[in-house]
């Protein structure tokens, strides 16, 4: 495959008289492609950690991928997945050309199309949909958050407010507490090292020293679900170098648990129970005069604590119907979590007494439970009252410390356009944004949209219930999905299949247009009418999206030209914008697209303009030469040397804007200094709440309550909880499909197991065609338990790389080979079950088992029988099995005996405030197949 590409290049030999000589431009382009090894800096997208990369290219081929040592987020390291990137870029399973469906949806029959034809097909449909139903009938789902901005800009300009991304189905309950109380999202331990710190003498120095003494990871497995790269080296680094203690709380013995000083395995979905007991214990001991747990200084940068405390303590005398015990007591927590009382007490005592510490909770849990909100609110409160928030070595909300980006490039300004809609016989005029299907529909408090509820939206349409357009109804007629695969990952697979193939009265599909844009070909693509091949991350440009302890930003650079007929997101934006304009779309204008951006770099330079956007605050002050508390914008060196303009009215310092060129010239990364104690209630600290303080009384809910007051009805999520409104402060409710919830007691006899899931970093939705990642074994949910099979893979031609780099011919380095795999040599998704449970059920290692839920759904897979999971709990990797798109290569071939966990998810269990699917709330039974 690759060999043919290079042969074509060499065919331009001047000796061949059939060819014309190259122009100067062509020659330069050719020389740039041949020549020696070039090193380009970039950002990963093999996983959402997006580590800084060095990509080596030779003769136009991506040749090596390493971590960029200048990026403090990953400090030169690179995980297995990142190092396997070449096998993704050159995978034979990549989408190669645009395609248009010829069979029925789901059949996977397509014909090849040109880009012009495909874009025109999409544009004409979109223009027709806008004319008949309004642009709001179109959803643009940018799947992974990365590089969404080009797509969002185009679809905001087209007129829909319904542009979403993967965040909606990731872990919204986990992020809710920090968002509500801090204006942030992700609390992580202060273990990113090095950090760039201003020294007393004014210089900047990389500081490698750890300060953290205790980390509690609850339902968070950073060593395997690698989202925050530095937690791998930082956790073990702090342990070895400063004696930091690590406690891991997870029903499954994860790789992170393997390095812990204490592993506690509770019943699934009891995060809030444990946190509530910890908080009650700390408060009661503190009230007894036990000094040291609570740092009273938190009162200075928070509001509403008394009210929160009163609401929390009001439960203490109530009896829980499930246990007959008083809420939040240690005995109650023991009964609910299944952990020994003294262990719960010990964890609470350690967290109260050891400082600095960080309490961190994860995507897997509470992120995947219906009541994860309660846990994330309690967890935030615990970090705040113990004085750990933004303390050196403590807990950092990295949403608040990361660099700003996006700016006007995102096209959010289009949302303020005024639009008119007839509602109940009257014409109403309001903003485009107020047509939003979730925020003015059933889910007003869903900051990150509700992708998990799309099947219902596809089937039933949208009724706006809040805001000026209350009463306006519209169908969803087009679903544009880009680098996402909700058929497998967006709650129950069967429900998505049903919704995408449902027909209207005229016999056509209810969702008239489905467009799939991606580099690999995943299951959602099987339901598309048009498939567009997007350039891989090595072939396009954009910005890193990372969660460091202080502002760091880098470029995802275009290091090789797009392969096959793929196009970059920028090219697709411009191409589709032009196609829309050609089809008569009045809202798409040259000055917003092709006349505004001459190159992809123009677009990303605009997106970089707001960086870092953080205040000059904390200890030590990042820029002592600049006013305290002012917002910083511009390159690190311009701010450092004072090449700035200062706007005292806006309290803003502007240096020279960050650009792609600046980043390339500075080792591929912009790093602004670290500081701690950046909360400052009065000098413009990093907190982004309404009051600029930590909010124990949740003002963020005020606007939703206002909508409820105006409309006179509560949204479906909180109505389900029996709440008329969003609470002012602490609240409590149970999770679904859980033994502790009396509503499900009737199922416990027949369905005695809890089913949980977790991300296997090495086997995520889009990268399972990478053979190097099937040579690894992870935690009993991704294991070499394959049957014999044959499949094409990208294989090396060894003998190329001996001794020194220049001798390697990258053109012949890899080839696609059909290979036979012996049993037990290739990792596949498995079903993890405790050995005592397995013994009772007569299940042995490798046996085929059936897992069934009370909704009548079942999956099969091979049992991985181990000691590494709590009895009564079953675990599957997220999206590791049952994969029915041929684009998954070997993983597709092995689909018949690997489990798709999401087949068992309850599509109606959408967590009540933000609509996230409750991926880890389910009861099941297990038997031998």
């Amino acid at each position: 495959m690759i060999a043919r590409g290079l042969a074509a290049l060499f065919a331009w030999s001047p000796a061949n008289a059939l060819f014309r000589p190259l122009s100067d431009n062509e020659r330069q382009a050719l020389e740039a492609q041949i020549g020696n090894v070039q090193v380009r800096y970039s950002a990963d997208v093999m996983c959402p950690s997006e580590c800084g990369l060095e990509m080596w290219i030779k003769d136009g081929y991506l040749f090596k991928i390493y971590g960029n040592p200048n990026v403090p987020f990953n400090d030169g390291t690179l995980c297995a997945k990142g190092a396997a990137g070449i096998q993704m870029v050159y995978s034979p399973y990549r989408l190669k050309t645009p395609m248009i469906r010829v069979g029925e949806r789901g059949e996977g029959r397509f014909r090849r199309a040109t880009w012009d034809e495909a874009l025109d097909y999409i544009a004409s449909k979109l223009v027709a949909i806008k004319r008949t139903h309004g642009p709001e009938a179109v959803i643009m789902d940018a799947g992974d958050v990365t590089d969404r901005d080009t797509y969002w800009r185009l679809f905001f300009a087209y007129g829909t407010p319904n542009c979403v991304e993967h965040g909606a189905i990731c872990d919204t309950p986990r992020r809710h507490g920090p968002k509500l109380m801090l204006g942030g999202k992700r609390i992580e331990p202060d273990v990113m090292r090095p950090v760039l710190v201003r020294q007393p003498d004014g210089s900047l120095k990389k500081d490698y020293s750890y300060k953290t003494k205790l980390i509690i990871y609850n339902g968070w497995n950073p060593f395997v679900a690698t989202r925050i790269n530095y937690e791998s080296r930082g956790t073990v680094g702090a342990q070895v170098e400063t004696g930091c203690k690590v406690i891991v709380i997870d029903p499954c013995h994860t790789n992170t648990a393997a390095k812990a000083d204490m592993w506690l395995a509770p019943k699934a979905g009891t995060d809030a129970d444990l946190f509530a007991a910890m908080l009650r214990f700390i408060l009661e001991r503190d009230a007894e005069g036990r000094a040291g747990y609570i740092d009273p200084a938190f009162r200075g940068y928070s509001q509403g604590w008394e009210e929160f405390l009163a609401a929390f303590a009001s439960w203490w005398d109530k009896t829980d119907p499930a246990t007959g015990l008083k809420y939040f007591s240690l005995d109650w927590a023991q009964a609910r979590t299944g952990l020994p009382r003294q262990k719960i007490e010990e964890v609470a005592h350690l967290f109260g007494s050891i400082k600095p510490a960080a309490l961190v909770w994860g995507m897997q849990s509470p992120g995947h439970h219906y009541n994860g909100y309660v846990a994330s609110i309690l967890g935030t409160a615990l970090n705040v009252i113990t004085g750990n928030l933004d303390a050196p070595g403590g807990a950092i909300d990295t949403e608040l410390t990361k660099s700003d980006k996006g700016g006007s490039a995102t096209g959010k300004q289009f949302l303020t356009r005024k639009v008119k809609r007839p509602v109940a016989g009257k014409v109403v005029e309001a903003t485009q944004d107020e047509l939003h299907m979730d925020r003015y529909g059933d889910w007003p408090s869903a900051w990150d949209d509700v992708v998990g509820d799309y099947p219902r939206a596809f089937l039933e349409g949208i009724t706006l219930r809040y805001g000026p357009f209350r009463g306006h109804k519209y169908p969803i007629k087009a679903f544009i999905i880009r680098t996402g695969n909700p058929v497998i990952t967006g709650s129950a697979t069967w429900k998505w299949q049903e919704a995408l193939t449902a027909r209207d009265q005229s016999g056509g599909y209810k969702v008239d247009l489905v467009v799939y844009v991606d580099t690999p070909f995943l299951e959602t693509g099987l339901y598309a009418d048009v498939v567009l091949p997007e350039a891989s991350y090595a072939e396009r440009m954009s910005l890193s999206d990372i969660y460091p302890s202080h502002p760091v930003l880098y470029l995802r650079d275009q290091v090789i030209q797009p392969l096959h007929e793929s196009r970059t997101p920028f090219e697709i934006m411009i191409g589709l914008a032009q196609a829309l304009a050609n089809n008569g779309d009045p809202d798409i204008k040259a000055e917003d697209f092709w006349a505004k951006y001459k190159t992809e770099e123009d677009f990303w330079n605009e997106a970089m303009a707001p960086a870092p956007g953080k205040p000059n605050i904390g200890e030590p002050l990042p820029y002592p030469n600049l006013p305290i508390g002012y917002k910083l914008i511009g390159t690190p060196d311009s701010l450092d040397s004072g090449r700035v303009t200062i706007d005292h009215e806006k309290k803003e310092v502007k240096g020279e804007p960050l650009t792609a060129r600046w980043i390339r010239e500075h080792q591929g990364v912009a790093v602004w200094p670290m500081s701690w104690r950046r909360l400052h209630p009065t000098g413009g600290g990093i907190l982004k709440t309404g009051s600029k303080k930590v909010e124990f009384v949740f003002s963020a809910y005020d606007k939703y309550n206002k909508l409820i007051d105006e409309a006179g009805e509560a949204p479906r999520g909180i109505k389900e909880l029996g709440w008329p409104k969003y609470p002012r402060t602490f609240y409590w409710f149970e999770t679904k499909w859980n033994p502790n919830n009396p509503d499900y007691a009737k199922y416990l006899g027949g369905f005695p197991f809890q089913l949980i899931c977790g991300r296997v970093h090495h086997a995520m939705s889009g990268t399972q065609m990478v053979p190097w990642l099937s040579e690894v074994e992870v935690e009993g949910t991704w294991a070499p338990m394959n049957q014999e099979f044959e499949s094409e893979i990208l294989e090396v031609n060894p003998g190329q790389t001996q001794w020194s780099i220049p001798f390697v011919d990258p053109a012949t380095r890899y080839e696609v080979r059909n290979k036979k795999f012996r049993p037990g040599t290739f990792s596949v998704g498995t079903i993890l079950i405790n050995s005592d449970d397995a013994g009772r059920l007569g299940i042995q290692m490798g046996d085929m088992v059936v897992v069934e839920n009370p909704l009548g759904k079942q999956v099969v897979g091979r049992a991985f029988v181990a000691e590494t999971i709590r009895p009564g709990v079953i675990k599957m990797g997220f999206a590791t099995g049952g994969r029915f798109s041929p684009g998954l290569g070997p993983t597709f071939v092995n689909r018949a005996y690997t489990p798709n966990h999401n087949e068992l998810v309850d599509p109606d269990a959408l967590s009540p405030i933000m609509g996230q699917p409750a991926y880890a709330d389910m009861l099941v039974r297990v038997r031998r197949a």
């Binding site: 390291t77 690179l78 790269n229 790789n255 040579e775 003998g799 001996q802 405790n834 050995s835």
Partner: protein, 206 residues
């Protein structure tokens, strides 16, 4: 004193992520199912006193390499066979000389070697291979790919004859927890491995 390479893996910092294994596969074009650098995982104990244990392994670049003894391909000098030991301690394979007989792989007490097939002319040629500490990088002053990518910063290579080097410091500071891998040979052969492990207390379970 002449330079002598040694490798230290701090098991306390190994997070079981396989970055070393995959970095090596990328760097050295190792075929599917074969490894120069590998992570072995094992679970020990009974619930709840259980541990996953991770053991990253690679060629030990032994002081007394049995593979070199086993190699039947003569060289210009006795220490320059198809498999030979370099002065700085690296045990290397000269693939131009290697006949692919596989004796070195058979006798390696750590099973660190594999035999691959190279497409040559119209047929295939067998070659032995194994970890060479990424000598092509090392000789340019760059760390091996596995050291560079290691997510836990658990790996380190350097000159054990230089008391100031990081490997020497690590070995000196962790004297009572330094181990080398046991081998499967019995009898009097002492391969003397040069890959040192710092043991992890937390991995010791009842």
């Amino acid at each position: 004193m002449a330079k002598k390479y040694a490798f230290v893996i701090d098991l306390r910092k190994c997070v079981g992520c396989y970055a070393c294994q995959v970095a090596c596969k990328q760097e050295n074009d190792v075929p599917f199912g074969q490894f120069r650098s590998e992570v072995k995982v094992r679970q020990d104990g009974r619930f709840p006193d259980v541990k996953w244990r991770f053991l990253p392994v690679l060629c030990n670049h032994c002081g007394n390499p049995i593979c070199v003894k086993a190699c039947p391909v003569p060289g210009a000098t006795p220490d320059r066979k198809a498999t030979y030991k370099r002065e700085d301690g690296l045990v290397l394979v000269d693939t131009d000389k290697c006949l692919g007989c596989g004796m070195c792989a058979k006798f390696c007490p750590y099973r660190a070697r594999y035999v691959w097939e190279e497409r040559k002319w119209e047929g295939w040629m067998r070659k032995a291979d194994k970890c060479n500490y990424c000598v092509h990088l090392l000789d340019q002053g760059l760390p091996p790919a596995c050291v560079r990518d290691c997510m836990g910063k658990a790996r380190c290579i350097g000159d054990i004859n230089d008391p100031e080097s990081e490997v020497s410091t690590l070995i000196a500071q962790n004297k009572d927890r330094i181990v080398v891998r046991e081998n499967r040979l019995t009898g009097g052969l002492k391969p003397t491995p040069n890959v040192y492990y710092i043991l992890d207390d937390r991995s010791q379970v009842a």
